[in-house]
């Protein structure tokens, strides 16, 4: 397919604006900021433009086009009713500075969403502001800091404990919040190594950050013991809720002893994602941490109406503009209300689907931790690599030929040649079976015809990419004919 610049012909236009004889005076723009030449935009008629982008859109892959078992990302179907509701003019056209009386419906929706999230997490208070899981993490750690500062323990508690299975955003958030990292190992069953942990938690520990179920898709069997260790040391417990899809209505982070939780609305509660956002990463906290939550807080007033409360003297401040990504709240609220008291079935089905796929695949791939899984599981292509020279990357690329989005690969880092599969609850058994059949066929191909994997994909618009060169010599703008603009030719090209 040609780039739009390659379709460009001088003088072609998508629209013709009328010429004014008398143009209004141009605003004063300082000389050095003025453009000397017109921008080099592609010149195409409107219908070419429409065809170009329509064609491009057909080359995309998303939950609306196929099965997307990308582990840790919960790529579930996003019901269309969500979009209907988010587009209601009363929501979509509301100005963020609208006074409270003119925004009662929106405020009530946010307040009700907070109440539901408090219930689902088993905690007391919620802030909807953070716009992604990672921002929820940072917000949560700033709450930890504010909490210990108020107790005069800020200097003493400098360390945050994170298991080696953690998502990369966890250690990044720890560093950004000004804490030091204490890594802890995973044991042979895929739980936190409690012996390793005991020696690492003391009066200098501020918090634990834990994903439960972990990124291995395993529920930590020692969670009660872990809770005793941290709370006995006076530390707090932070729950990375990225995997909440496994436990809704079954177990609650608050009941496991966690003090702070972030929820990924774009995973668990069906905000479309994968295209870069917006996401939603609300944090839920125990009563003791509520005074530190971001402002404004969405509250129910004494007269029964809803409002914004800025009067929180101990707040960590604002973490996002206004009250957060509102359209995301509408979709998540709609989704939660659709499940209603049956929310547990969502998680049960997600766990059932994952275990079904795991049971069908575990003889063809390595399974580093042989347990019942939660909503996702991690296989390894380690034996396949040793015996046939085919890697997790090759399996992923070959799956694309079969019409599936690949699973997450090479994560978590503790599993070599990792393939992390999360089917979600929304898929039919036929789809799961088709995926399993493809994975089993690929395992056979690796033995019989390894080249098929190594050169895959064969049937996609884009063939195998040279990721190493893309990382080392990224070409991020179009090379115009003009020599000045030509991007330096990559070495060996």
């Amino acid at each position: 397919m040609k780039l739009i610049y390659e379709k460009s012909q001088a003088g072609r236009r998508a629209s013709a604006l009328p010429r004014y004889d008398e143009l209004p005076a141009a605003p004063e723009i300082p000389e050095d900021l003025r453009r000397n030449e017109p921008p080099r935009l592609p010149e195409v008629p409107e219908f070419e433009l429409v065809r170009h982008f329509t064609e491009l859109s057909t080359r995309n892959f998303g939950v609306d086009t196929g099965f997307y078992p990308l582990g840790s990302c919960t790529m579930k179907y996003n019901p269309r009713i969500n979009e209907r509701l988010a587009a209601l003019p009363g929501f979509a056209r509301l100005h963020p500075l609208q006074d409270e009386d003119g925004a009662q419906g929106a405020l009530e929706l946010m307040w009700r969403l907070q109440e539901i999230l408090a219930e689902v997490t088993g905690l007391d208070a919620v802030s909807l502001q953070p716009a992604a899981g990672s921002q929820g993490e940072l917000t949560g750690l700033l709450l930890v800091r504010a909490y210990f500062a108020a107790r005069g323990e800020a200097e003493q508690r400098r360390k945050v404990v994170i298991p080696d299975t953690a998502h990369g955003t966890n250690p990044a958030s720890v560093t950004m919040a000004g804490y030091e990292l204490t890594p802890v190992r995973t044991d042979a069953r895929g739980n936190i190594d409690v012996d390793d942990l005991r020696g690492k938690v003391d009066e200098h520990t501020a918090a634990l950050m834990l994903t439960n179920p972990s990124t291995l898709g395993l529920f930590d069997e020692n969670i009660e013991e872990i809770e005793r260790i941290f709370h006995a040391a006076g530390a707090l417990m932070y729950y990375d809720g990225a995997n909440l899809n496994a436990v809704c209505g079954i177990s609650r982070p608050g009941d496991m002893g966690f003090d702070i939780v972030h929820i990924n609305l774009h995973k668990t509660f069906s905000q479309p994602h994968g295209g870069g956002g917006p996401g939603g990463g609300p944090v839920a906290v125990r009563k003791t941490l509520e005074p530190f939550l971001p402002v404004p807080a969405v509250v129910r007033r004494e007269d029964g109406g809803f409002g914004l409360d800025f009067d929180r003297p101990q707040t960590i401040g604002k973490v996002r503009g206004f009250t957060g990504p509102f359209g995301v709240f509408v979709r998540s609220y709609a989704y939660l209300r659709m499940w209603g008291p049956r929310l547990r079935e969502m998680s049960e089905t997600a766990v059932l689907n994952a275990n079904y796929v795991l049971a069908r695949l575990k003889d063809a791939y390595d399974l580093p931790f042989d347990r019942l899984c939660m909503h996702e599981f991690v296989l390894s292509a380690r034996t396949m690599k040793r015996e046939h020279g085919c890697t997790a990357l090759d399996v992923a690329k070959r799956l694309m030929d079969y019409g599936f989005h690949p699973p997450t690969i090479y994560f978590p880092l503790i599993v070599p040649e990792a393939l992390m599969v999360e089917p979600t609850e929304t898929e039919a058994k036929e789809t799961l079976d088709a995926f399993c059949d493809a994975m089993l066929a690929i395992a056979r191909e690796a033995a019989d015809e390894p080249e098929l994997l190594k050169e895959a994909p064969h049937h996609r618009p884009v063939k195998r990419l040279d990721e190493v060169r893309a990382a080392k010599q990224p070409v991020v703008r179009y090379a115009f004919d003009d020599a000045l603009e030509r991007v330096e030719a990559p070495k060996g090209a």
Partner: protein
Amino acid sequence: MAAAESYPEELKYHEEHDWARVDGDEAVLGITWFAADLLGELVHFEPPAVGSDVTKDQSYGEVESVKAVSDVIAPLSGEVLAVNEQVVDAPETVNEDPYGNGWLIRIRLGDPGETDDLLDAAAYRQVLANQ
């Protein structure tokens, strides 16, 4: 071309997949074949500043492949005397020659006694066998 698997006898190893070639009160440090193979072709090396201190068991830099970014753990403590600019310019040198041209930094040892804690090639192979 990626090198074939090897763990030279004359080197000392750290279980986080780093090696040290000790010479008097200096040492050259790098990552093992196993680490380089696990990461795949390196695309970036973030070195420490010459003159800064590195601490045994702690990260002194980062190596990055298209799969992952990974901390490089110091097998020994000391002051950084030199950084291998060839690896900064062409990180894949580490995959091609992990124990030769693919060295990462040279340090002046802070505590030569620390060498005793490191593994020999046989012990490091045992660590790998248990993974």
